[in-house]
Symmetry: C2
């Protein structure tokens, strides 16, 4: 029986002005998933963590992603999956995407890499659909491709890898519950054309800033006039974290995915550490539980290790 | 008396999915403007063309741009300007921007290049305001910077030069009148969030495609779900030109500025010539007067020649 262990990283969707189209993979935190392939049909899932997630394949994000892949296989393999989640569900750091993307990358490796990265995104989107009711790829793609990805279009799928200069990322996860579905519900279905123009000027600037390694342009482009003003109201401390982080030298940042985590991009590690301190001070004062990370962009994406027996 | 002659090129604003933020300079057509500096105060304008444009400085696009610049000069120079327009006013090819940008580039050269490109855009925006009632920079900037420019923000001004692979541009100007103010009037003030998301996915893709020299991505990103469906109704033959051009191998294209000109980007010169033939056939059938151009991206922008006396 061959098996692999993958590290499936946390991801930040939206990246401020790129609602529903941009995503970035982090080096920390990450889920650890061990997948074994065998002749015994069926999928068996075990969760070695505290989150009490369903283990019936049809109800498990990783399970349905694997089932989606298996529909395109001729042979009838079986899989044993052990998941050790470190990315807290509901954190806004792509916890479900890590499960969905991690398992299909692992399975593809065991099958001799017969599927393309785009295929893998397609399979993992079944997991995202189970988790949030919507097929979206902005957390899955950076996990599978690494670095920063643009989902130009979801039907048909069009994924673009973007280069970017080295950056440090400070993240705080204040432990309140924000459901993705609620966070979507409060958005207006229509937006002002003038706001939309501002937003597409900013995303164009952000993409150009990434590709030109222009930190100043990245910083100026990290502005969201459409989603953040609405969603940030669900996150206590948001305005304070953002203002003080930028004052301390962060390039900018905002809500990770649909929240409640907040991230700040920084050019220097020192700045990221200062920002982390700011985050801690703010949430210490609120009495809310929280967790912080200082990490970097994960350009490799999901890491696969072959297990020797 | 020293004088310069500048070639101020036509420009294409919007570039399909970049409404109000993207622009591109063409090598053809261009206006020829001769500017002389003297000790005799005042601005004297002469139009050597058929368009019967005002020559009183305060009513002339080039005149007000020059006046705007002169407000920031200590010395009281005078200027004599002769304009030979080849970019037809109202064509949607940045005719007013060429006058506005051309004169300030010429004057700056005569003054020893004391102003930055950004300053020049600022001055020329006064001309655009006279022409269209709105300060916009998406036609001025590519003229002054050359190539393709992004106006990430207009207040404060933030102009970004984008690299792009070589492309041919086929343009048709069907000679109907579309006023910029009318073309703005018919746009809805609100747009669907889902359409806005599509649009910012496309502009992000277009910018990435330009910078990665990825013709396929450029082609897939040349889609406008917000402005074109409304404005194209003002341009007879639009759908036909677009469909047949893409079928003939054009990367894509759309309305130039607020129209009525239509442009198509092509990877190969041969394709651009085929597209031009398609454009001619379509407008020959309508009986409308038209003019076509097959040209390339003007990476240099406004060209300055010093006149020897």
């Amino acid at each position: 029986m061959s098996s692999v262990t993958v590290h499936a990283p946390a991801t930040i969707a939206n990246l401020v002005c790129g609602f529903d189209v941009l995503g970035l993979a982090l080096n920390d935190p990450y889920d650890v998933m061990k997948l074994s392939i065998s002749e015994t049909p069926g999928i068996r899932i075990q969760h070695n963590d505290v989150y009490n997630l369903p283990t019936i394949p049809e109800q498990n994000v990783a399970g349905v992603s694997l089932l989606e892949m298996m529909q395109e296989l001729d042979s009838h393999y079986g899989f044993d999956l052990v998941i050790e989640k470190h990315i807290k569900p509901g954190s806004g750091l792509g916890s479900s995407a890590a499960s969905a993307a991690g398992v299909v990358v692992a399975a593809n490796h065991l099958l001799g890499n017969i599927f393309s990265k785009e295929d893998l995104v397609r399979f993992a989107m079944a997991g995202e659909k189970l988790a949030s009711g919507v097929k979206h790829a902005d957390n899955i793609s950076p996990g599978i491709y690494g670095g920063i990805t643009l989902i130009r279009s979801i039907f048909p799928l069009d994924i673009v890898s973007l280069t970017a200069p080295p950056m440090y990322v400070a993240v705080v996860h204040p432990q309140i519950e924000v459901k993705t579905s609620d966070a979507r519900e409060i958005l207006r279905k229509e937006v002002l054309l003038k706001d939309a123009i501002k937003q597409w000027g900013n995303i164009a600037g952000l993409v150009a800033g990434f590709m030109k390694n222009d930190y100043g342009l990245i910083s100026r482009s990290l502005e969201d006039v459409i989603i953040e003003p609405v969603r940030s109201m669900l996150i206590p401390g948001f305005d304070d974290v953002k203002k003080k982080s930028v004052d301390a030298g962060a390039l900018g940042g905002g809500i990770s995915g649909s929240g409640p985590s907040i991230f700040m991009l920084c050019e220097e590690k020192n700045t990221a550490l200062k920002v982390e301190k700011i985050m801690k001070d703010i949430y210490d004062n609120t009495g809310l539980k929280y967790h912080t990370y200082v990490t970097t962009i994960n350009n490799e994406g999901i890491k696969v290790e072959v297990n020797n027996h």
